[in-house]
Assembly symmetry: C2
Homo-oligomer: 460 residues x 2
């Protein structure tokens, strides 16, 4: 008889795992059942702000594959099926669905419930015009709202989603304000010197940015939202979107006794095994090993969820894969400004007990004389004495952001800053100066960390 | 008394070395004299096609610094000064200049003569309208020609400069043909499967591409060029530019007994020392260590010249630097098509005695549903069994080309293909899919080389 794999959660991690296991084991050998509580599987949450702003026309484009497509590939996919309990000893889950409730046994269980948007306990959350963005339904609702006469929007939260939403609202002609309680935008991924460049640019686009403002109350008139803040300082709005980040969905796991790690997400080993036999976990609900801080982290990134899901799928499929960890690399844009980061910020390095130095350089996306050249600021962070790269941040015009991947690859490989400074990167006037901005930042960080001219390594 | 450094050649390598040595040693301690035979120092040859095509307005923009600026920094810079002989035993050079000829003694000598455009021994080279492109004077001449009624241009040579010139001519409305004796364009940096994408794109732009055609003769009428080829097959032209590559300028070195290496360029160690005491060399005239083939190569790239020059400068300045070698990373564009490569092609791997496998994947520059998304083809080449990355090639729309730097950094670090497949690269819909095309190509190459699912390395 076939072994049965039950997957709780049909988004990036769950469907990656299911697909990978299916490629490796036949239907006769492994029965895969996915339970997804929403009406969608495998959708691109990262694309939602771009649907709201109208760059993406069709909501279906954000669905990588439909339940029917997975079904056709031999993955038994059930939407509107919510797992409400896990019986570890009995190796079964309780599933609630439109037709009732049932118990489904498993031989292997993948816990891939993802994360949920943080809903702050403040007054006015129930007012008409107060929204959050997580599901495709949320995105559809926001899209129809913004095209029906919204004049002023306030986005609460200065993270990636907050900024992307602000760009979307601005793009469709809505007067937009971003408020964050943090001293700067993107406070978890950029140091203040780099974050300032982003908020300056947003202001130059006409987006109002208000930092250090904690929203304690949302004001309403006649049941509809009127603004954010109920005291002296308030920002009028007919649309408020809360983008305060997300937290791992661990309630089910907690109730079942599946151990959590120090971050509060499900603890896993490098094969995505939890501490409970036959129970695996991957994606936003699970921890991952950070290759620089060497600590567990809980990042809610599609890249991590896809990779961790694939690792779980390989192992469930009979292979042997270890998830090699994360750097937290991320990228976004606001208007023409590209923003990316990897590894630790200066503050995070200090929190991790690592003594860091940083170099912040101003350069250009292409040769100075190239007509499309734009400014580009690069910050490289290295460990004192060793020159080990700890992190990097880039803010600049078109072509700037994806250069973060060079830092990420160097950090992944353990290449110190003073060696990255000599790597053979591509050059042509439309693409960079003869020394790429990555080189220049790496060299300066390397010199600060380890002094001038440490001999680079030569492969014999 | 100050030591005296004589630098022969005032372009990238020579001026990088001079500037670096000057930063490290005072004028009282080191007297630096540069002899440059042309009227310019430190200019961007790579920018010349873009000046010819009119994207760059001012020829002065292609001069990084003027002789006067170097002079002001304490570097004794002499243009129109040609070194005609080196007396190794007497530690002196003979210099010919507008005022006559003299002998100048040295304590240290840097041989940085660069490369010269290859001038084929064919009939018709002396016709009016037959040009080459190397110096700023050449660029100025071509620019004034193309803006004065040229109707048909033929570029002989399908390398980087040939393609960039073809784009420039096409851009200003000239009917343009590229002819190359090779079976494909960019034959030294792309395998045929990738090169086809480039010539297809050029043809779609209206540029005529003729491969496998060896130019034996240039036809003329009344002393002016009439076309390329004098037999059955010929291509009419009122402008012909020969872009057949360049060769290292080693005559002076040879005459002086400075040993050359297997490539025919000046042999140097990793400190840029030649085999002759007190004589150094760097740039297009010198060899460099190739990190993948582990053989000496002679690449004519501004990136290599700048780095090797800086290494020589550090060592001449009293520091200790080793040039860590090259991968041959390069990038260009033709219209909207970006083209880049690093390391060895399949053919070069075979020539180097390395057993290679290759994966060629078609992907997109951003999420499929992003409005600006364009096709992007990535080829990754890995060593059989080990998965060691040997090379990569990218052809695609805006944003594709610079991703070659991720491969270059991975190759530099010795990261095998199957590990690059798991690295934490940045993702957001405007910039890539959740698996970057680099990941996908690396994974396929890794699987071909070493089988599926080798466990990636985890930093503990």
């Amino acid at each position: 008889m076939a072994e049965r794999l039950v997957v709780i959660g049909g988004d990036a991690a769950g469907m990656s795992a299911a697909s990978q296991a299916r490629r490796m084991r036949d239907v006769d050998d492994l029965h895969i059942i996915v339970f997804e509580r929403s009406g969608y599987v495998s959708y691109s949450a990262c694309g939602e702000p771009y649907f709201v702003g109208g760059w993406v026309e069709d909501l279906d484009d954000l669905q990588v594959r439909t339940p029917e497509q997975f079904q056709a590939r031999g993955i038994d996919t059930h939407i509107h099926h919510e797992v409400t309990a896990i019986d570890i000893d009995g190796r079964a889950v309780t599933v609630r669905h439109p037709g009732g409730e049932e118990e489904v046994g498993y031989d292997q269980l993948l816990y891939a419930t993802g994360a949920t948007a943080i809903r702050p306990p403040i007054e006015g959350m129930g007012l008409k015009g107060v929204h959050m963005l997580r599901t495709l339904d949320d995105a559809a609702q926001l899209r129809s709202l913004v095209s029906s006469g919204v004049e002023r929007a306030v986005v609460v939260g200065g993270g990636y989603i907050g900024l992307e939403l602000a760009e979307a609202f601005d793009h469709v002609g809505i007067h937009t304000t971003v408020v964050t309680m943090m001293p700067t935008v993107l406070e978890r991924t950029l140091d203040p010197d780099m974050a300032e460049l982003v908020s300056d640019h947003m202001r130059s686009m006409g987006i109002h940015v208000e930092t250090g403002f904690k929203v304690e109350c949302i004001a309403g008139v006649g049941g509809a939202v009127a603004g954010v803040g109920c005291d002296d300082r308030s920002f009028p709005a007919d649309l408020v979107v809360l983008a305060l980040g997300s937290r791992p969905q661990i309630d089910l796991a907690k109730d079942a006794g599946i151990p959590l790690g120090p971050t509060g997400a499900v603890a896993v080993d490098d094969h995505q095994r939890t501490e409970i036999a036959a129970v695996w976990s991957a994606g936003d609900c699970a921890e991952a090993h950070h290759r620089i801080s060497r600590r567990p982290v809980n990042l809610h990134l599609g890249t991590v969820a896809n990779k961790a899901g694939r690792v779980a799928g390989i192992n469930l499929g009979g292979g042997d894969a270890a998830f090699p960890g994360v750097l937290g690399t991320a990228i976004t844009k606001v208007g023409d400004l590209e923003i990316s980061s990897t590894g630790l910020t200066e503050r995070q390095a200090a929190e991790s007990g690592i003594e860091a130095v940083a170099a912040n350089i101003e350069s250009r996306t292409s040769a100075n004389y190239w007509p499309g050249s734009s400014p580009m600021t690069v910050k490289a962070i290295a460990e004192r004495n060793t020159g080990r790269l700890l992190g990097a941040q880039i803010v600049g015009g078109p072509g700037a952001g994806k250069r973060i991947d060079v830092f990420a690859t160097a950090m992944w490989s353990g290449l110190p800053a003073h060696e990255l400074a000599w790597t053979d990167l591509s050059y042509s006037p439309p693409f960079s100066g003869v020394w790429d901005p990555v080189h220049i930042a790496a060299r300066k960080a390397g010199e600060k960390a380890a002094g001038p001219f440490p001999s680079p390594r030569r492969t014999k």
